[in-house]
């Protein structure tokens, strides 16, 4: 019987591709997918943008120290990191698992650490876009950064993205996709309002104020507002973010399900 395929078409010639190319293509795919998802874009870019403008221009909304735009930028950068690192990442991973992606990748020569690196790379690309867009709009609203506060802010952004990213991988890699969707959105909503992001910790009632400083949301938002208003970040904020990142990362590495 004629097969319609030339002899030798499928002659074996196996071997692993170069690590660099795997990482590049995987990161590119992750970035494309993150940008294609319109709900995720809403979550990661449009909501922080609206909040930045609202908090800066509407005086009565939340009590913020002057210059308002500096404090508002800290707030929305923290929100953006939570959206990208935690909520989007967790939901994407949950559904990728449901659709058998991890199984597919596990069957190729791609090393597992590279799968995680590629995901973080895609996340980093979104973070860069968020920082550029939010920073640009803040400049237009009158933000005048100095080199010192800018450096501290970028360090906190990286630590915050890492801490939220690790928590996102932990959630998305361990439970059913539909459950991930619910938990990730509820946590986002709760932390936004009573996690120290929109409402500063010192305006929260009672013990809640000191409690949220131990959460990545509170630590990141307070730390960013401090440095953007000209201060230095409290060591406590940095430690809180590091501990969340490392602990959640380690647990995620152990619990991440490949199917």
């Amino acid at each position: 019987m004629s097969t319609g395929f030339d002899t030798g078409t499928f002659s074996p010639d196996p071997g692993a591709g170069s690590r660099g190319r795997m990482l590049a293509v995987h990161t590119r795919t992750e970035t494309l997918l993150a940008l294609r998802h319109s709900e995720q874009l809403l979550l990661t870019l449009v909501i922080p943008l609206a909040l930045l403008i609202g908090l800066t221009l509407l005086q009565g909304l939340v009590e913020l120290p002057e210059p308002r735009v500096n404090a508002a930028l800290g707030t929305v950068l923290a929100l953006a990191m939570m959206s990208t690192g935690f909520t989007s990442q967790a939901i994407a991973l949950g559904f990728d698992r449901r659709y058998g992606l991890m199984r597919r990748l596990a069957a190729t020569a791609i090393p597992r650490w590279l799968v995680v690196t590629g995901r973080l790379g895609g996340m980093a690309a979104v973070v860069v876009i968020q920082v550029v867009v939010l920073g640009g709009v803040a400049l237009a609203l009158g933000w005048r950064p100095d080199a010192g506060s800018l450096g501290w802010a970028l360090l906190l952004v990286v630590l915050g993205a890492g801490a939220f990213g690790a928590c996102g991988l932990l959630l998305g890699g361990s439970v059913r996709a539909d459950l991930v969707l619910v938990i990730a959105n509820v946590v986002w909503f709760v932390l936004l309002f009573v996690g120290g992001i929109v409402v500063p910790a010192d305006q929260l009632p009672g013990a809640l104020g000191s409690l949220v400083m131990l959460l990545p949301s509170g630590a990141l938002a307070e730390g960013l507002r401090d440095v953007l208003l000209g201060g230095t970040p409290g060591l406590g904020h940095v430690v809180v973010l590091l501990v969340w990142g490392v602990v959640a990362g380690l647990v995620a590495g152990r619990t991440l399900k490949w199917d």
Binding site: T3, T7, F10, A16, G17, L33, D96, Y99, R104, A109
Partner: protein, 308 residues
């Protein structure tokens, strides 16, 4: 190509907490051959394949895949095999071409992805997100991902279960071409026709054990009785027919007018039956001499009750 088999499984046992999925299974697949693992649902086919791919750990037994122990799916092995899992295998929002490019990037010398997309009839949906593809399109993409890296050995777990007849024949042609080019193929299937059409070796499993193994030819001829079927007016007296046949042949009328003679059907027996019909003044119509099909063998071995 080495003389060592591509896959060698000896006395494989896989136990889950309460059940034994595979219970002392042996199989051997040589380079450039196609082995079909045939069995009812829950027979242990997928478990066996997953052990060979390195995704599932075994309780006992020896397994060598391309000369290596597959346990833990070492990278050195994954680079040499192609895997088509049962269902799924992509980002829900990824486009066909992006997914195939990603998998191709994991290989040193991949096939041309554009050509593969065209060959597998995926051009028309190359820009659709994965979750919008039909079951058959998803399955064809999964097959493309399995072979794009030019593997030496391919595992296909029910490769045609969601395909239409055209798609099925395309996949069959492709498996034949893989075999011609020296790729070893281990496939699982429910379709007897598929095993008969493609496999050099068939291993029938049930309850985690091998119940029969051999070439399709060996399985369908060994110990099997031939049958001769024909149609004629209903109500013929078959005791007269058995009188003209050698000892040990049986004849019966199934549905009215449908007659079956069973025993070893050679040219003499065939002639005797048609001559007898002629003497009755009847034309034996729709005469068919049938050996057992693989399906008959399968059902005889694994029973006819439905599996959950």
């Amino acid at each position: 190509m080495s003389a060592e088999p591509a896959v060698e499984v000896h006395d494989l046992v896989v136990r889950y907490s309460t059940t034994t999925a595979v219970d002392g299974l042996d199989l051997e697949l040589r380079h450039g051959r196609v082995l079909a693992l045939l069995g009812p649902n829950g027979a242990g086919k997928t478990t066996t394949v997953e052990v060979c791919e390195g995704f599932r750990s075994r309780t006992a037994g020896a397994v060598r895949v391309l000369g290596q122990d597959p346990a833990g799916a070492p990278e050195s092995l994954r680079a040499r095999i192609g895997v088509m899992p049962q269902g799924g295998g992509a980002y829900p929002m990824v486009r066909v071409r992006e997914m195939l490019d990603l998998v191709a990037a994991c290989s040193a010398h991949p096939l041309d992805t554009g050509w593969l997309i065209e060959t597998l009839g995926l051009e028309s949906c190359a820009k659709l997100p994965y979750k919008r593809l039909s079951g058959g399109q998803q399955q064809r993409l999964s097959l493309a991902c399995a072979i794009v890296g030019r593997p030496e050995l391919v595992f296909l777990d029910e490769p045609t279960s969601s395909l239409d007849p055209q798609g099925r024949h395309l996949v069959w042609d492709l498996v034949r071409a893989l075999r011609t080019d020296g790729v070893a193929v281990l496939l699982t299937t429910h379709f007897m026709q598929e095993a008969e059409a493609l496999a050099d070796d068939v291993v029938i499993v049930d309850h985690g054990r091998v119940v029969a193994a051999g070439s399709p030819e060996e399985l369908t001829t060994s110990g099997a009785e031939d049958t001769m079927r024909f149609r004629a007016p209903p109500g013929m007296d078959l005791t007269l027919l058995e009188g003209v046949l050698p000892e040990g042949y049986l004849s019966k009328e199934g549905p009215p007018g449908h007659y079956t003679v069973s025993g070893r059907i050679d040219p003499q027996v065939l002639a005797a039956v048609t001559a007898w019909c002629a003497r009755q003044g009847v034309l034996a119509d729709d005469v068919r001499v049938g050996r057992r099909s693989l399906e008959d063998v399968f059902l005889d071995l694994t029973g006819r009750e439905l599996r959950s």
